[in-house]
């Protein structure tokens, strides 16, 4: 497909996406679902770089999400900053946290790295629930509405917040695409697939891990930033395992390293919860089971399953045509014997 045509198609789809909630009915429930899907997708994309590209499991991304939300809450309520200011603050704090965590875990093996990130998340729950500065178990309330004064734009409610959420999503998709084409993205893949070979190609696996970590944290934190505005209050429940499981499922459900994979994955899960729910606990069971089944039996996600089926049917067709290598040469030599 010609590049110009492709570009036009992409822009067309992007514009269409903006009006999608309206086309689907435009009710408050739909807008709410759309905003949350966009926010959680952005959250998942941060983890996607770590899991799909680098091939490791970071369980600390819920902390980055919470950092984004808490930073936004604190900066907007106590320092009176507007959305752009809080976004900047979020990115800075997220980079700081990721930097510290990344440096601590620099020399650790993959699974110890994951354990440490898991422990960080658990400790963060304790801290968030007990520290008065963060509002303790009540959390922080009174986050003002998303308002860009210089544009005269004020978002009251999800329908009006949707363009912001959608813009954030588009920016994230662009960042992901750029990352995968960048040197860092290529380095991450090489470290993932063959660490020894990567080292011999001059790549420093530790530095690569740190850099990918630093790239991914602000993305997830930005999702937290917007979530704070959407919910208007933050509390320690942002650190619940639910968000982690949601992120992980979204990343693996559709297929690894597919640009739209996490978005579709989040959409599937959110639609199930919002419109086809069986109650909180059963939904948990469903989500957890989906995650388990995908990883244990469908390593390539749903897309991978479709590909495997196609490959299997092709092999059945080719099977009759497999010939055994010509035996003539070997036979004649053997017959030449003593």
């Amino acid at each position: 497909m010609q590049p110009a045509l492709r570009l036009a198609l992409i822009i067309g789809c992007a514009v269409l996406g903006l009006f999608l909630p309206l086309l689907l009915g435009g009710t408050p429930a739909i807008y709410s679902a759309a905003v949350l899907i966009a926010i959680f997708a952005v959250m998942a994309y941060g983890l996607d770089t770590i899991v799909s590209d680098l091939g490791e499991v970071s369980l600390a991304h819920t902390v980055f999400f919470a950092i984004g939300a808490y930073a936004t809450a604190l900066l907007s309520t106590r320092a009176g900053l507007g959305p752009l200011g809080t976004l900047a603050g979020t990115v800075v704090v997220a980079l700081l946290a990721a930097g510290i965590l990344g440096l601590i875990t620099l020399r650790l093996r993959e699974f110890v790295f994951s354990l440490v990130t898991y422990a960080v998340a658990v400790v963060a729950i304790t801290v968030a629930a007990n520290w008065n500065f963060l509002g303790g178990s009540d959390g922080l309330r009174g986050i003002p509405a998303f308002e860009l004064g210089f544009l005269g734009y004020r978002a009251q409610g999800d329908a009006e917040l949707w363009p912001v959420a959608y813009a954030l999503l588009l920016v994230t998709l662009y960042l992901m695409r750029s990352f995968r084409r960048s040197r860092l993205g290529q380095a991450a893949i090489m470290v993932h697939l063959n660490p020894r070979l990567a080292t011999m190609s001059g790549i420093d696996p530790q530095r690569t891990r740190l850099q990918v970590f630093l790239f991914s944290a602000p993305i997830t934190a930005a999702a937290g930033w917007l979530y704070a505005y959407q919910r208007a209050y933050v509390s320690a429940d942002l650190l619940e395992t639910y968000f982690l499981i949601l992120m992980l499922t979204a990343v693996v459900l559709i297929g690894r390293r597919l640009l739209l994979g996490p978005l579709i994955g989040v959409a599937v899960v959110q639609i199930q919860e919002k419109f086809f729910s069986f109650g909180g606990y059963v939904d948990k069971i469903i989500l957890g089971t989906v995650l388990i089944l995908v990883l244990a039996y469908l390593p390539g996600g749903l897309v991978g399953m479709v590909q495997a089926l196609r490959e299997a049917s092709r092999r059945v067709r080719d099977r009759d045509q497999t010939a055994f290598p010509a035996q003539t040469q070997t036979e004649s030599i053997r017959k030449a014997g003593p």
């Binding site: 899991v51 369980l59 699974f111 660490p195 990567a198 696996p205 948990k284 989500l287 089971t289 388990i292």
Partner: protein, 288 residues
């Protein structure tokens, strides 16, 4: 603060921690597997015990084996599902799958047992012992005795029996063990079942000390992680003493500084150790 009382608390807590962590130590040492559902399996053990005792009216001594059986079943199912991943040593997927299982257990327990906190009362926990200035319960004594017996028995099995030899062979080199005629799959299933039984036993004994909630389990994972890392991966004696050390640390930190942040403090100590002396845990990403 009564020094000896905290000492006693620390010793009880330490044995509890060692017992909670032992399933993980064996799992990691023999099969090189991690189980992020460990905390939820602990929660399940606690609730099955509670349910058996207070809803089914069974005696405590019957409830404990029932909880252990539930643990074995969960562990077995988990490993059965993960078997291909284990054989491929796909650690990333294994970690996420066990996380998923933990989440499912959380949901299922909430569904069956509800979301209110419960208190697991056992005949032992209701009997207080006063010895001079000190206070503890018979439950505490049971924890210490069972922990010591369990550790001693485990050490004996691993070092002196055929089963232990088989486990050590698989721990060192699963491929070579296959060539020696060992059914490695069965060993992996067995080890996971053992982890289920061990963590359930720990829960049945330790859970009476505090109220239990279906949302609990995370602190137990941190504790386990700290014990296993400090004690040396796969070392049974090491994890016993690491557990004791952690227990004493927690007791004194809780009394001197703050009870709410003990887990955080323990974790901070662990991070300090990992950063300053990574030892066998530090293989830079990119090496095996």
């Amino acid at each position: 603060m009564n020094l000896t009382q905290q000492l006693v608390n620390g010793l009880v807590l330490g044995h509890a921690y060692a017992l909670i962590a032992i399933g993980w130590t064996v799992l990691l040492g023999v099969a090189r597997l991690v189980n992020f559902g460990h905390g939820q399996m602990y929660m399940l053990g606690a609730f099955v015990t509670w349910y058996s005792v207070s809803r089914l009216g069974l005696p405590y001594l019957v409830a404990v084996p029932i909880a252990m059986l539930a643990g074995v079943a969960v562990g077995y199912v988990m490993q059965r599902v993960m078997l291909q991943l284990t054989l491929r040593q796909d650690l990333v997927s294994i970690m996420i799958v066990t996380l998923g299982f933990g989440y499912v257990l959380h949901g299922a327990a909430g569904l069956v047992f509800g979301s209110t906190g419960q208190i697991l009362e056992t005949p032992l926990s209701l009997i207080d012992v006063y010895w001079g200035d000190l206070w503890f319960t018979w439950q505490d004594i049971a924890i210490i005795i069972v922990a010591i017996l369990f550790f001693a028995l485990l050490k004996y099995v691993i070092e002196r029996t055929g089963v232990g030899r088989t486990a050590r062979m698989v721990a060192e080199d699963p491929a070579l063990a296959l060539l020696a005629g060992i059914d490695v799959k069965k060993v992996y299933l067995g080890v996971f079942a053992f982890e289920g039984a061990a963590v359930a036993l720990a829960a049945a004994l330790v859970a009476p000390r505090t109220p239990i909630l279906t949302s609990m389990g995370f602190d137990e994972v941190i504790v386990t992680f700290v014990v296993v890392v400090l004690g040396g991966i796969g070392s049974i004696t090491g994890s016993y003493f690491a557990g004791l050390a952690l227990g004493l640390f927690t007791a004194f930190f809780g009394a001197l500084v703050s009870p709410a942040y003990t887990t955080a403090a323990a974790f901070a100590v662990l991070i300090a150790v990992l950063v300053l002396r990574p030892g066998g845990l530090a293989a830079a990403p990119g090496s095996r």
